[in-house]
């Protein structure tokens, strides 16, 4: 079986952990390893009848007092960048997160999740870019959760 490391990156309270809990059926307790700013889960998935596994590193949002260790980025084959649609500054910060990540892993794949889409009114959804590998998601309503991870996995394993 082929395994790959992926990251979940985004500001505080954008719903990274909720996305993982929705996607992964086997996750450690939320409080696990929070002191070092990372929670790790794993998920097996089938692509074209072949089994793969993702080891998902959920990186805690950085603060000036507690920056994300750059070493966490190393060796990642891909990343899910998460923003909160109800807090636009978290969406704006995504570019900086992507740039930092690509600096360490220039050849890696990534997807963007505009999370908490359940809070949007129908007419508000148009505000968000409908680009490739960019999805409106909701962990609460289970909108596009599997899709972001499957899309990223396909990019990684079929590359």
């Amino acid at each position: 079986m082929i395994r790959k490391k992926i990251l979940l990156i985004g500001d505080f309270h954008v719903g990274k952990t909720s996305l993982i809990r929705r996607y992964v059926d086997h996750a450690f307790d939320d409080t696990y390893l929070t002191s070092i700013g990372v929670k790790i889960s794993r998920k097996k998935l089938l692509l074209d009848h072949k089994e793969y596994e993702l080891l998902i590193w959920d990186l805690e949002g950085a603060t000036p007092r507690k920056p994300i260790p750059k070493t966490y980025y190393r060796g990642a084959s891909g990343a899910v960048f998460v923003g909160d649609v109800s807090r636009l500054e978290t969406i704006r910060n995504l570019d900086a997160h992507i740039a930092t990540f690509k600096e360490v892993n220039p050849d890696s794949a990534h997807v963007i999740a505009y999370n908490k889409a359940d809070l949007l009114q129908m007419d508000q959804t148009n505000r968000f870019q409908n680009l490739k590998n960019t999805f409106l998601t909701s962990a609460k309503e289970d909108i596009n959760v599997d899709k972001i991870f499957t899309t990223l996995a396909k990019e990684i394993f079929h590359d």
Binding site: M1, I2, R3, K5, I40, S41, Y72, G75, A76, S77
Partner: protein, 455 residues
């Protein structure tokens, strides 16, 4: 209002907004019956809750129990000590007894394993350092023991290979490998940001009774899971083993892509298993333990091994003697052309065979005395016909000699007789000569007288 009083829905709707306040007022009354009623059913409520959703109830109580215990210890320390003493005493006693039992078993294993090289090494170490063998044994029994080994890809934290002692498998090793990597990365990052030691890497992580020993190379690192902190010797052993893996598989490690189905991983795992099983003071798995006990309890096996070793030594000894004999036979054949048998019996060399001449006989003796300083028995034979022929030849020679001697004797007799005759004749001639000399002297005298008479 009277009409509404018969309608339950209406009553609920009317009461609901004020229910909390009413309930609170009722609880705060001096002679409230609600608390009495609730306290009667509290135990049942807790029981029902635990039956329905025990984890949820545990989580709810978790936040209460710890502070409650802390408070109780702070305020009523003696009561808590009295309450816990019977259990704690037993627990500590059981733990200590078990630890001592394990240590005794370990020491006994080492003592019983009397034929091992380690025993003699320990004896030598004891003599050299002045530390008693018992102390060394106890020290060895305290050696940290590796229960699992992980080889992890440094960049991604993905597990490449693992090995573990039987019954000590780590649950979800891939997750543990990732988490260990995260911890290692976090600590390394912290060290680098707080100290100047750029090259420093975390080597030991301890939690409870478990210790993780981490040794890093370029593209991978190894984690040894131990039950105590490893000493210098054990670290050196782990590092040396890790170095052999790096040496053999560096290209594979560098190009690792997360695929665990390659043959290299199988081979690496086998090597890691072998290293774990070979570690000094290995706590034996049940199968290996029973196998070792069987060996220890079965003197026939030990005797068989000793006999085997003796037989092997004897075969080597026989081989050496056979080669010596073969070499000697070949040399005799080359030098004399005689095909003889050389055989070792006890410590004596026996030479057997038929030879055709005494010259060869002596030549063979000469060769043997040059080749060995040991005793040898000459059992060489000359064939009977050959011997007869030689005897007849000798007899003929003797006869000829006799014949010649006889002739010589006859001639000697003749010569003796001739000599005797000559001697007699000589004697007669001597006598005649004497007579003639006398006559000559008389004539001379007569002549002299005549000269005197007739000057």
């Amino acid at each position: 209002m009277e009409f509404e009083a018969y309608d339950e829905t209406t009553i609920s709707r009317k009461l609901l907004p004020i229910f909390d306040d009413v309930f609170l007022q009722k609880l705060q009354e001096k002679e409230s019956k609600i608390i009495t009623l609730l306290s009667r059913h509290l135990a049942q409520i807790i029981l029902k809750s635990s039956q329905r959703d025990l984890p949820a109830l545990s989580r709810s109580l978790q936040s209460v129990i710890s502070p409650a215990i802390s408070k109780e210890i702070a305020e009523n320390k003696d009561k808590m000590v009295d309450a816990l003493y019977p259990i704690m005493g037993g627990m500590i006693s059981k733990y200590v007894t078990q630890s001592i039992k394990e240590m005794m078993e370990h020491i006994n294993e080492k003592i019983e394993d009397g034929l091992s090289l380690d025993r003699y090494k320990r004896k030598l170490k004891s003599k050299m350092t002045g530390v008693s063998e018992t102390e060394l044994l106890i020290e060895e029994s305290n050696d940290a023991h590796i229960s699992s080994l992980f080889v992890i890809h440094k960049e991604s934290g993905l597990l490449i290979a693992e090995a573990y002692i039987e019954d000590r498998e780590i649950d979800d090793p891939h997750m543990v490998a990732s988490m260990a990597s995260a911890i290692k990365d976090f600590v390394n990052d912290w060290i680098k940001s707080h100290e100047d030691a750029i090259s420093s890497e975390v080597q030991i992580v301890s939690y409870g009774n478990e210790t993780l020993y981490i040794e890093s190379a370029g593209s991978v690192y190894i984690i040894a899971f131990l039950d105590a902190e490893p000493d210098h010797e054990q670290r050196a052993d782990i590092n040396a083993f890790f170095a052999t893996l790096i040496k053999g598989y560096s290209a594979f490690f560098q190009n690792f892509n997360g695929d665990d189905s390659s043959k290299e991983i199988e081979t690496i795992s086998q090597k890691m298993h072998a290293f774990l099983n070979a570690q000094k003071g290995n706590k034996l798995t049940p199968d290996r333990k029973s196998a070792k006990e069987n060996t220890r309890k079965n003197p026939a096996k030990i005797l068989l091994i000793i006999l085997g070793m003796v037989a092997f030594g004897y075969l080597v000894y026989l081989g050496d003697r056979y080669y010596f004999s073969y070499r000697l036979e070949k040399r005799i054949l080359e030098k004399t052309g005689q095909n003889v048998d050389v055989e070792h019996i006890a410590d004596t060399i026996h030479i057997r065979g038929n030879i055709t001449s005494m010259h060869d006989f002596y030549a063979i003796q000469d060769i043997i005395s040059k080749e060995t300083t040991g005793d040898f028995v000459n059992e060489l034979h000359m064939p009977l016909e050959e011997l007869d022929r030689k005897v007849i030849q000798q007899q003929k020679s003797i006869e000829q000699l006799r014949h010649t001697l006889r002739h010589q004797n006859i001639r000697l007799d003749t010569l003796e007789k001739a000599l005797a005759a000559k001697t007699v004749a000589l004697q007669e001639n001597t006598k005649r000569l004497d007579t003639l000399r006398l006559r000559y002297d008389a004539l001379i005298e007569q002549l002299a007288e005549k000269k005197h008479k007739f000057p």
